[in-house]
Structure formats: C-alpha cells, structure tokens
Amino acid sequence: MKRKLVALLCTLCMTTSLFAGCGSSSTSGSETAEETAEAEDTEEAEEDYSSAGVVDETRETGVRESINIAIEDPIELLPFRMTGGSEGKRLLYQVYETLCVLNGTGGEMTGTLAKDWTINDDNTLVTVELYDYITDSEGNTIDAYDVEWCYNYAIENSYLTNVSTLDTIVATGDYTVEFSFPDGIQNAGELEDVLCRLFIVDQDAFEASDDGFVTSGIGTGPYVIDEFTSGSSVRLVINDNYWQTDDSLKSYLAAANVETINYYVISDSAQLVTAITTGQVDLAEGIVSTSIDQFKTDDNYGIYILPDTQSTVLLPNCDEVSICSDENFRAAIFYAINNDLVVSTLGEDAALPLNEVMNSVFGDYQEEWDTEENYNTVYDLELAKEYLEKSSYNGETIRFYYMQSTSVGTAAEVIGMLLDELGVSYELISGDASTFFTNRSDTSYWDFIFPSGGSNNYGVGIWSLIFNANNYGGNSFNFIVDEELQSLFEACYSLEGHEDVSNLNAFHEYFMEHYYAMGIYQSKKNIIYNSNAIATIVVNDKEYTVPGAFTYYVD
C-alpha cells in the first residue's frame, strides 16, 4: 500500500513537472501591434541603413568598454565562406570588409574598399578602383593583386557561388581590378553579388597563417579577432590601425563605438532568455516569440522586431505525375488556405502574412499587390470547393513536404486542418536539411513543398529561387515548364528590365493567374537588448546587427 502511494506521488510529481514547463502568457494582438509600431516609429533612418531605439538625451553616450552578445555557433571564422556558413559568422562583418556595401536591404551600393567603379557600355567589364592606402590590422597593404587572388581562391574552392556569369578577375594595376562578364551583367543584383559578398584579405597573410584564417584572421575592418574558442565564444577588440581615417568616406559598418565585443555561443533558445534576463548578455536575437512578452513591459529592455528577408511559400508540384499539374486543383488548394489564420497560430510576433511570394522588405515589392484580390489575399472556401469539383481530384492523399522546423511544422498543420474543411486528404512529411533538397528533385516524392527562401539584394531573387528554369536544368523549383513564364521572368530579372515596374507586374500577374505559387508567411526577427547600455541598434542589409555602430550609454 505504502509503495503504491509512493509510486502515485512520484507520478503526480512527474506530471506536474511536465506542465510546469509549459504555458506562457498569451500574446495580445493589439499590444504586439503597438510595440511593433513603437519600434517602427522610433526607427531612425540614418543615411540608408536600418536602426532602432531612441537616445535618452539626459544620458551620456560614447565609446563603451565592452558589450556581450549571444550568437549561434559560428563554427569557423573563414572569411570566404559566408553563404552556406552559420548565422553566427555575421560577426565577421566587423572584422573584414568587402569592396562595396549595400545601405539597407536592396539599398544603394556604396564603396568600402572600392573608391570607385565603372561599367562599360555593354555591361561586360566592371573596373574597380581601390583606395591606395588600405591596410589590414597588421599593417599589410591591400592592393588589386590581393583582390584578384581572393576572388579566384573563393571561386576555385566553391566559397563564392551565384557568380557563374563572372569569367575572369584580373588586376590591371596596383589598385585597379577588372571583372569580366563575357555575356554581360544580365540580372538584377548580379553586380551586388559580386562586389558586396566577398571579404578581401591580404594574400600573403592568408598563406602565412597556420590554419588559413579558420580560427583567427587578419582583416581590414574596425575590429580584430582577439580570441576564438570553437563552439563557445569569440572576442573582438578595436582595430587601432583602421585604415580609413576620413570619416566622410567610412561606411556605416566601420563604426567602432565599443572597445570589446564578446560573443557567446548559446545554442538553446530557452537559454537566450535566461542569458539576457540575468545580464550575462546585453543583446540576444531570435528569442522564441512566445517569450518576448516579459520584455515588453520591462523598461530595462528594448525590443526590435523586424520582418525577415525570407518568405515561406507553398509550391505545387507541376509535373504531370502529380495531381497538382491540374490548375483547378491548385486553385482549390490555394483558395482554401487562410494566411491570417496561419500567422495568428504562429503568433503575431513571429510572422506576417504574405500577399505575394516576394516580401515587402525588398525595394522592388509593389505595394499595390497588397490590395489585389486573389488567392493570396482572399480566403474563400466556397470558391475553393468549386475549383475542387472542376478538378480531376479523386480523393488521393496529397503529400506536403517541408523541412523540419517548429514554425513550418506548425504552419503545415494549420494548412492541413484547412484542407480537412475542403475535404482533401493529405499527409505531412518532414525532412531534415541533409535530405530536403535531394528529395525535392524527386517528382514523385511530394505534391506540395513548403520551402523558405530569401534574397541577397532584390525581391526578384526570391522569384529566381522558385521560377528560374536556369537554376534547375530547364524547369522551375516545382517542375514548371512554361516558356512564357520564363520569358516574363527574364524580362523582369534582367538589369534593365528590372527597372521597369510593368515587367514586375506582368510576371506577378502571370504566375498568379496560373496558381504556380503562394506566399504563406514572412518570419519576423526579434532583437532584445539591454536598454540601460544600448541606446540605438543598427542592422546591415542582411539584417545582421552591427554592434560597432550601436549608440551606447557610458554613464
């Protein structure tokens, strides 16, 4: 009897402990909107980059001694491998510099190491002139030969991708480099991908390094890597020998308003909350949206919630083996999906509903698309049922395939419930990163796929990820073979065509008419910071925080 009582007591304790970890205060939609609006209202657009926060005029600002920031594990610090590398590597934007930078997502391109650049008439040659006084933190001179070597090394080792139209990079003088594009710079964002995405280092310093700058490095940026413990921490200290002494020529990334930046790797999202509430870090990004509420009412913290550059979209398998090759069936599914419901399930601090596959962070997004009436903006179950009746659907089980993640999994389940209302049988299949893209190319594996994707420079980059047949050997990501679609895409993706809004609208209308894709939601990023130490925060064009450019309180 006693043993039974003890066992029962233990069971109760265990059950109680399970529930004790659950539950959080519900997010008030209006409160969230207010906070988000407050963050947006207080954004100060300094030049062309994004910032948030308001300086308290009663307090003294200046160069702070140190700041602690939580990051994802950067894994390695190789300067050439940013695409495909960990998000934690964003700290390298403080250590190394590119030829040019973008002021904000899709913003104007300005020179950092590049003093000037010219493009010839047929867009086949870009000549970049460097400043003739660039040195790295060890005093090594950076010249055109270093630039030539960096690009060739990165391309040979597959660190720099999406530059297949770039043929040669040649130093034609000590401080001039020529980039040759035999077929011409064809697409929007192509020049930015070449000039803004590769860090430049001194070749001799790199080759003399023990490990090829993987765990340490010498850059031209405002900070120097002082210490790196793999999987644990990185410390940056001010580069006292920063080469650009003319303040009017410095990029916003070159600011150094704190002497030491300590980055701590925190792999668990719950630990981020602990770390910032205990003061072990002063800034944390990507806290689970349901945990943000506690910071909203606490004056010791500032919150910056900004829309991510990534869109999560739903793509039908347009290959003939799938039921989704039937346009009426695609229309039925799309009209049965309520974006707003998906977003409200995820939480308004976590996502925004999309009205198009592209998202509004990018400068080429057209605001009129928000007010159009189509399947992306209108939820109409009755219309969906009409389309379903017209389609060739005979009760098959539709397979939805998505990459494992909490938010996408939740969204997929909500969509599944909506399909239940439509009367469509479905199966949710999740895959991990290592097999997702391999299975994507199997036409018989899925009927709908639920990927997330972004772009470096322009919203058409997201269209390119989905629709550009040149990326996938003749058909799109979701097996569309449509010459008209490709032709319209190339018209709006080309360098000149991108400037013409009618090309963007034409493509938008065409793929919407054929129900080729549906935008579901755009994630939001959140940045929680210690507002007693940090007055304003700054993010670059990739929405990475730039701690050196923050405004700090020093009293």
Partner: protein, 338 residues
C-alpha cells in the same frame, strides 16, 4: 547460496604477467574492432541519402559549381577507392580528414573537445559514485524503513525526470533566481557545476538502485552472519565483507556509464552550450559532415573498448575468482602447448 569472495593479496608476479598478456591480447583485438567500426561507419555514411554539394553550396549553385565541389572532396570516386583512402589515412596517418563544415582537421577539433566532454563525464561519474552508492547502501541496510523509502524515492525521481528538464530547473533556480551560477558556456569550475549536477541525476538513480539490489543479495549471506557472529563492528562487516561482493554489478553499470558519458552528454552540452564531442557529432550528422561523424564514431569506439578493458581489469582486482580464472586458463594453455 552465495559464497564470499576470498580475500587475497594484490596481484602476484605471475598474475601481473598474465594480466599484461591479457591486456595486450585485448588491445590487439581492439585494432580489429576499430577497423571494423571504421568500415561500418564509412559505409553507413556513404549510403546516407542526400547530396552534400546541395547542402553545402545551396540549391542555387550551378551544376558546374556542384560538380567542382564533388571533385574537390573526392565524392565522385568509387566506394572502394574512397574506403581504402579513408582507412589508410586513419590507421597510418591518424587523419580523419578535414571537416566540410568546420574547415579544420576533424582530429584536431576532437582533441580540443574531448577533454571538455571527458571532464564533464568524469565529474558526473564521480558524483554518481559518491552519492549513488552510499544512497543504495543506506537503502539496503535499512530495508523497508523510512530511510529506504526516502532513498528510493530520490532514486525514482532521478530516473523519472528527464535530464534536460532537471537542467532547466537548475538554471531557473541557481542562475535566474539566485544568480549564483552561470547558465551557459565554459570557463572555470563554476561553469561545470550545473551541467554536472544535471548530467549525474540519472546515474545517481541507476547506481543507487543497482547498489541496493546487489547489497540485498549479500546482506543475508551466511558469511555476513558469521562475520557479525564473530563480533565484528557493523561498519567492518559492511565495508570488508558485504560491499566488495556487491560491487561487481555496480562496476559493470559504472563502466557502461563512463562509456556513455563520453558519447551521451549531447543534451547537457546543448543546453549549457558546452562545445564538446556531443554537439560536434550532432552537427556533423545534420550537416552530412562525413569526416566529423566518422572520426567521432571511431574515437568513441576506442574509448568504449578501452573502458570495457578497464572494467575487466577492475573485475580481476575486486574478485580474485575472476583473476584466478585468467591465471588458470593461462596455465592450461601453457600445458597444452608443451
């Protein structure tokens, strides 16, 4: 009826030489085990679906770029060529290859992480032993009394509560509320207190239950009654007569725990952001980082085999009957040869 383990002196000269031969024999067999493990893990990783070039370069990389990547890392070579190259690199050059993700030799990264995981694991084992065995002893010696119920309640709670739940409870209490201890990272001893506390909970529960069970088997043995009848103090009866006989199964469990602690700390490492072997292996698996996965599995196999050998030697030290069996079989082999 269980007989007492005869007390005898530490290893004699002959016994030492027999044990030496036994150890060398086991070490030689370990090479075959490691070669087999290498071939097995290489083959498994070879057969795992997924295109490494897609994963590393992204889907928008061109076909030429992906092909260049595959050529660079020898991914287009036939299975047998890749296997031969890998096995010769591992056993002749101690080279596990360069990690696709970390860009440093897998061996170097493992060597830097193993001490952290070992320190964490050994500290957990030490705490398991220091708390678990006495807990089981107390429970066994006071069977069916409140001490027994309390100890077993603690053990049951420890076995029931998942490690990560206990870890977060500790963080909430000691770090968030009291501010006594850091919640993540590595540094001084204070950074390891919460991870060790969290990681040893299950082990304490297991060891205490195992010790109690083993002690209850010996507690009513005739030799224990005889020892008490001889007028020995209870402490002497427990320590010199009961405990050595009860330790064999406990040593087995502890040995398994040591081997597990090197490979199985990934939950604790993830929660507390400790860059150890567990997190290294986890990332390697999700990134299809062949050198990391293969290297980690080989290293873990080596440790497991070494720990099992150590456990066997400890058996011989604790239980002279096992030692005598080794000596006896060696003598029989010599007689047969002659």
């Amino acid at each position: 009826m269980r007989s007492e383990i005869p007390r005898s002196a530490a290893f004699s000269k002959m016994e030492v030489s027999v044990i030496k031969r036994y150890v060398i024999n086991r070490l030689l067999w370990m090479i075959f085990v490691l070669v087999g493990t290498t071939i097995l893990i290489f083959s498994i990783m070879y057969l795992v679906p997924g295109d490494l070039a897609d994963l590393q370069l992204g889907i928008t990389a061109s076909a030429e770029e992906k092909e260049a990547f595959r050529e660079l890392y020898g991914l287009n070579d036939p299975y047998i060529v890749r296997l031969w190259n890998y096995v010769t690199d591992v056993f002749l050059h101690f080279d596990f290859g360069i990690s696709f993700v970390y860009k440093v030799p897998a061996m170097d990264e493992l060597l830097s992480r193993i001490p952290r995981t070992l320190a964490l694991g050994c500290a957990c084992i030490a705490l398991n032993t220091i708390i678990g065995i006495p807990l089981g002893l107390v429970a066994a010696l006071h069977q069916n009394k409140w001490q027994d119920y309390l100890c077993m309640f603690v053990a049951l709670a420890g076995a029931s509560i998942p490690e990560f739940v206990f870890a977060f409870m500790c963080i909430l209490l000691f770090s968030t509320n009291l501010g006594w201890l850091p919640a993540f990272g590595i540094g001084g001893i204070k950074y390891y207190i919460l991870p060790v506390l969290s990681g040893s909970l299950t082990g304490i529960a297991t060891n205490s239950r195992q010790t109690r069970s083993a002690m209850l088997e010996v507690i009513r043995a005739d030799y224990v009654t005889t020892a008490r009848a001889k007028g020995l103090a209870e402490r002497n009866v427990v320590v010199r007569h009961m405990l050595p006989n009860a330790l064999i199964p406990v040593v087995t469990v502890l040995g398994g725990g040591i081997a597990k602690s090197i490979a199985g700390m990934m939950i604790i490492e993830n929660v507390f952001s400790i860059p150890g072997v567990g997190t290294y292996l986890t990332r390697g698996v999700t990134s299809l980082d062949f050198p990391v996965v293969q290297g980690s599995v080989i290293v873990l196999s080596f440790f497991s085999a070494a720990v099992m050998l150590l456990v066997d030697i400890i058996y011989a030290y604790i239980d002279p009957r096992i030692k005598a069996r080794y000596v006896g079989s060696a003598k029989r082999k010599r007689r047969v040869k002659v």
